[in-house]
Amino acid sequence: MGTYLLFLQKSFQQKFVYRTSAYIYLLSTCLRVFIMVNVWTALYAGRDSINGVSLMDMLNFIVISAIVSALTQTRMGDKIAAKVVDGTIAVDFLRPIRFKYFVYADQLGENLYQVLLNALPVCILAALIYGFEMPADPLMLSLFIVCLFFGILIIFSINYIVGLISFWSKAAHPTSWFLLTAVTLFGGTFVPIWFYPDILREVTLFLPFRLIYFEPINIYLGRVTPSEAMSIIVIQLAWLVVLWLVERFMWSKIQTKLTVQGG
């Protein structure tokens, strides 16, 4: 455990080296939030609520989603593929550590950095300008944190599996583009699923993507009852089991078939 915390800390510190890129990220997050606030305010002009969602709900959604998206971003699929392609994966395999936990720790360090130095400042700024509501009920807040934690595990598992595919293809694939697109479309990261047409909304119910981002925020905003929130968390756990089985299966195949090209 301590080893992996150290990896987490290292990847967190590594981000500190690139000071200018941090300011630029900050600026671009500000712009994104600012544009979305303008767009939704204009959409709501003269309308009280649409599908039971008020403008205030929507502004809360934008602010909280800055933090959630910082926590749920992943590049691990691309990183694993790059390591497979250039052969450095062999070095990782020689280390006396669990590769998966190493990859997770590395990503989490990066994400925590993004939250602290990027999302949180923007959120505080936006909350001061546009207003922001915390969940009144501490129960809902704790359910949100649990749901968000499992959401992070789900996207990490999916992206890890996507990275493992490169052991077969031996190439950097645009798979992360597909993944990002799937999360945008079925996860409600750009337009919340509240506003989806019925067919699209029903499709999202059969996929794990809405559990990463949309459902935690839904709980945060108190748009579900505590018992509904509990069942969402159960569904998350079920998905995690499925993803874990897939990943174990792939991993067992990889250990017997790994070939390193050059390096």
């Binding site: 671009s28 994104r32 544009i35 767009v39 649409i50 597909f178 479309l185 337009v191």
Partner: protein, 266 residues
């Protein structure tokens, strides 16, 4: 004329090398096409649910997006690679090699670094433009098609000028890629009608970074809209002019930069 053929030859080589790995090319093509397609779909879904945004109907907003994407792709073909790689070329000293060629360094760079990948954007944005025209009952008259072409060229010149403006600081060993990213995030403003923003943003996107001329003003020509707020309705015709002026200024800035360029010596 002879050298012009040479530049075309450079572009041809780039395209051939790009599609050499056919499977990989198609895979990337498809991935990007779907990604932009989904974004367009969701913008439509969003505006459709609310019926309109500041009086702009779903397909009118889709048209704005398509115009912006089209002109961005036209500019991206030529300027994306040279402009994002300029600071790298300067740092490694590769740019010196370019200066020693008996060719115009600008045209040489633009044709040598041609990015065929932007074909994806075109293959999405052109059909979406046509569909929006049909859905919005805009007739395909000679005037409209001519206007559309002029708008796309003018828009591409504006986008190209922004690429150039943000890359020139690389001559002074300033890493400008970050600034470039922020400026290109400003393009996101143009995915929605300009009139939803505060006046100061409208002025910024009209006179300083004139992205509003890429789609917002000229689209109103087709749509017969009068959503100009404090600006003059004549702005709908000014895209080609703004494009030419911006691009001329950007070229001047490029030459200004290249004249003051001192090699890194590496």
């Amino acid at each position: 004329m002879h050298t012009f053929k040479l530049y075309l030859e450079f572009i041809k080589i780039r395209i051939v090398s790009h599609i050499e790995y056919r499977k990989m090319f198609l895979f990337w093509f498809f991935a990007q096409w779907i990604a932009y397609g989904v974004q367009l779909l969701l913008i439509w879904v969003m505006v459709h649910r609310f019926q309109d945004i500041q009086g702009w109907k779903p397909f009118e907003v889709v048209l704005l997006y398509a115009l912006s994407l089209n002109s961005y792709a036209l500019a991206g073909f030529f300027f994306y690679n040279p402009c994002t790689q300029l600071s790298h070329l300067v740092r490694t000293g590769e740019f010196d090699e370019i200066l020693t060629r008996p060719l115009n360094p600008f045209l040489y760079l633009v044709s040598r670094e041609f990015n065929f990948g932007y074909i994806t954007h075109v293959v999405l944005a052109v059909p979406v433009t046509v569909v929006s025209f049909v859905m919005l009952d805009i007739p395909f008259t000679f005037t409209n098609i001519l206007m559309l072409l002029l708008i796309l060229i003018g828009g591409a010149l504006i986008q190209g000028a922004v690429f150039l403006f943000t890359s020139v600081p690389a001559f002074w060993i300033v890493d400008s890629n970050g600034m470039q990213n922020v400026l290109f995030q400003f393009r996101d403003f143009a995915n929605y009608p300009l009139s939803i923003y505060h006046k100061s943003i409208q002025i910024l996107l009209t006179f300083v970074i004139p992205f509003a001329f890429i789609n917002f003003y000229p689209a109103q020509f087709f749509l017969g809209k009068q959503d100009f707020s404090v600006f003059h309705p004549a702005f709908q015709f000014m895209t080609p002019l703004v494009g030419l002026v911006m691009f001329a200024l950007a070229l001047w800035f490029w030459h200004f930069g290249i004249n003051r360029y001192k090699s890194t010596g590496s």
